[in-house]
Symmetry: D2
Subunit: 336 residues, 4 copies
């Protein structure tokens, strides 16, 4: 049995607790939170779990094998570092850390102590994203040309992160999993409409090798909720709509063909092709449950997690570069 | 009766011809096109209209009061200039010209010769955009904070203009009509996926005074057609979906409120408010028909057209700046 | 060249005229209408076509090979009868006649005079319905079990027919083409909400052999327009939504399986199976244009039209039985 | 504190348990179920609740004030009767009983013993249905003319009830709450496609006084899930779509007007009027939670529940009449 100690029982922590609790290979051994109220709630649901006010009581706990960290991003680096030093595996919420150097150090620490590091990019474990991955793998889409996502809704203004740090990690992690091209530069624009110091709406462009481009639109000030991602290939294209109850992904047999045979030798003629649409049945599971199972297996079998520190680092690199580009009103910032 | 001579009977010209023909104050006096086939088609529909191969036969025609120009953008400046010099009013397709200087000169020529210049930004005359304008005018939306539009579909790759020059003029003209803030700078990113020298997908950001920002997403490589515009105010927000058959605009009684009274004096607390949605019945007319009538009235009554040279110039300025920003991968280009 | 004389230039007649005019094998030789205004409109569009006030001038016209009848249903029988007697082929709007006996007589007359009779059930010629037909033909759907259609909207109240005679013929003709089982009985309910003597909303059930049932919901008093048809097979099921711009038909790999192997021998266990969805690209043509071409070929090659008198008669039988059932508040009326 | 004893912890029982448990005025005192497995599950969630194998241990329990019955309909009458005789209040799942006489007897028993009887018609307590009720109450819809509902999906074939007894109670209870006109007769058609003795798809018509008609379409064999109800008034009409995430009800300012002033004195001219659409924000609560609170208040304050025995009886009357009409292929069955 893998004993898990969870730090933080606020917004996302209860979901982690539930999934650790239900996993057959894991035991929810301990939970810490600075709030007495939250600990009372935890006690009601998990009477067998030890409860603490201090995170250190988890980190230094001999009965804990995995430290799961569901606290604000500003605390991620210190807590994870201490957990590795204390000989624990680490489950870390997204985004991984506040700086690139911190993420790099955590990767290095995980390696040094021989422990597993999983960054919780939940969407990578959804049936929809896994299906898209297998479609891309099969070559059906042809050459990939773009990723274009809208992730907008009203509200849930955060006080410690802006809309890019809040919503864009989902898309960057999905992008990194589905289209692992080298990322070259980032351009980001946006506005802090309310003078809070926090951007509440933003457009990101990620320039990648092979002329592939990702466009990401995130917003806290949209009257309607939209979760739509277009993935373009030269042979086929995908619409992934996470709000569709049953047909979350639609594959369009539509593409673009270049015609060099036209009379005008100096011009390439671009033509498009229109065919059927197809919506495959998707696996119906809770993504987080699958992710927890995956992490348990990585620990037991010594494998590397799918969304490990390198995956987390890629996301942080883009976020940090976006922040810089934002202050330059879209001026491109190189990723190195 | 206002006699109209139409230059160009290709993709859009026939729509102009039909609307000039049906307008009670206008007479479709002449059409020119270099294609014999197109002139044959024109003859079938308008047996009473004079047909020419040369544009000059329209421009120098004494029987013509208005020259309507529906030719590629590279020809707009020369044709319109000659038309003014020949003492005609001018109806000009969008985008107005290839350069800012050309647009400025045409505005100056119209003034010098005392003639009307209408740039055909058709969307400004739709029932939906006019309704949004009246809602904004009434103050119902509170302070305007953003414009965010997706105008994507598959195909219709143009050979003389890229996707920005093709699709973005619609949004820039709507923006200019609805939210006439001073435009400060433009950032644009995109990619020429097929090596044709033409960007086929692009993101634009227009920075305006008062911290207002417009985001515009245009694409020729989307498997699905989307025409969605979000307009955000502090009190209410609008979703304008041009593909909806009957409820093209939806007004959401949703907004954002700033709370300065919280215990934490150093932070502004942003809250959102959620209320009803309302979809007003819209006028049901062909926008182009209304636009033609508007131009006829401007000529007869000496008024300035709603989408005159200044409106066309605003669009060209943004397009030209976008082009420059595109080559700098999103680096901001100032508008002066 | 087949010369067509069209009787009636009201609501639907102009669509027929346009399609006869554009068909390469047909000539729109003559039009009659009792309204001077409509004849003026016809003259503007078809200056070469002869125009008459009296239908007899078409029927007795030596220059006419086909009489197309687009007048109220109460006149169909007399006009078509005279047309056959005058040696013409007949194109007849739906519904075919007011009574079963009239339809039977017209079938008999067409046979006696060796002329073709086409009843205009336009939906049978749409790309969507033809595709569904080929899917059913291929056996992919398994055994057909039901047809269920909603055809509702606001308005267009007719004064000479009720909502059943107005809207249900579309569904009955589609049903007859796609699922040609023997029809056994009809149950219809509805209400004349406004005391006009005309039912404005109705539910029809058509009982067919093999336990197959069709349900049809028609209404003139719905605030929203719906055109949705479900077609159920034991192996696959189809959703046909005529208002969808591009994906009008969706094939669901969903079905029902009977399990006789359960412990409880006295019960059949019904299970359902859920798989992918698929939306085929459809032919993109105007249905009426294809139908006109089909009729021209039938005349030239001596074939029987797809929607001939027997097709029209099936529809009339159901309409007449519905009327009787309606007066019995749903009591079943046998079809013989 | 009101002590509740729950009989049946199968499909719906756990939802009741959770809501009784969370209600501040109720105590989930006891649960009975014949399945050892289900009792184990109950023990995990409610360690403080007494568990029994026999329903009688609940009914005869001195520590129980309310008996909640969530068992198959065939057992409702006997269990509820014994509960009243044992001096308990009764919460009864829908449909109330198998026969009209049984429902009538339960109403009589509740009165005789001075106990409350609540039939669980959950939809009546949803924010959407309550909002529609208040709109109708305000008179905004004009005269009500029809109710038309589609409640179809794939699967969940029941073995003890057919699709009418399974799905139609929801609509009949909503109808009874919103449009309490006297019901006169029922016509029902349908088919048992699979030879299981159970109708799996059906159309119901309920004829009511004032010429008002309800149409209800229920199905277990639809490839898509639909939950759409149209409610027509002479002044306004409502579309209630329970699957819409945020805008479940839309009010259309559309209606019908009768024009008696036309030249033709023998005919009433029906005209329609088209205006705005409006989607009110709805209360966001779990309907069952509100319903449980309502029942607690009725017990404490001696009020009659909104969905009491008379509401349950109305539903049973229509179900029983539907069954009879079904066997007559739609022949109308009077409700007395």
């Amino acid at each position: 049995m893998i004993n898990v100690g969870l730090i933080g029982f606020g917004y996302w922590g209860p979901n982690l607790a539930r999934n650790f609790h239900h996993n057959p290979f894991m035991e929810l051994a301990a939970i810490s939170d600075f709030s007495e109220d939250r600990l009372k709630t935890a006690a009601r649901f998990y009477p067998q779990t030890k409860l603490y006010r201090q995170a250190d009581d988890i980190i230094n706990n001999n009965g804990v094998d995995v430290v799961a960290i569901a606290t604000p991003v500003s605390t991620h680096y210190q807590l994870a570092k201490k957990a590795f030093q204390s000989g624990k595996h680490v489950w870390l919420e997204k985004p991984m850390t506040e700086t690139v150097a911190q993420s790099e150090e955590l990767i290095e620490l995980a390696a040094r102590y021989g422990k597993k590091l999983q960054v919780d990019h939940t969407f990578v474990y959804t049936g929809a994203v896994r299906k898209i991955h297998s479609l891309i793998d099969s070559g059906d889409l042809g050459d990939l040309i773009y990723y274009d996502s809208s992730r907008v809704n009203l509200g849930l203004f955060q006080q410690d992160v802006d809309v890019i740090w809040d919503l864009a990690p989902h898309d960057i992690a999905i992008l990194d999993y589905l289209m692992p091209f080298k990322k070259l530069a980032v351009s980001a624009t946006g506005s802090d409409y309310f003078g809070t110091g926090m951007t509440s709406k933003s457009l990101l462009t990620i320039f990648m090798e092979n002329n592939v481009v990702a466009h990401i639109n995130v917003s806290w000030v949209s009257p309607v909720k939209i979760r739509q991602t277009l993935i373009g290939g030269t042979a086929k294209m995908i619409l992934y709509d996470d709000l569709e109850p049953s047909e979350k992904i639609k594959i369009y047999d539509k593409g673009v063909e270049l015609d060099y045979t036209k009379e005008d030798l100096y011009r390439i003629n671009v033509q498009y092709r229109v065919g059927d649409m197809w919506a495959p049945k998707l696996e119906d599971h809770e993504a987080l449950s699958l992710e927890v199972q995956h992490f348990a297996e990585c620990i037991m079998q010594g494998h590397e997690p799918l969304t490990n520190g390198h995956s987390g680092l890629e996301v942080v690199k883009v976020l940090v570069a976006s922040q810089e580009s934002l202050s330059q009103r879209g001026g491109p910032v190189e990723l190195t």
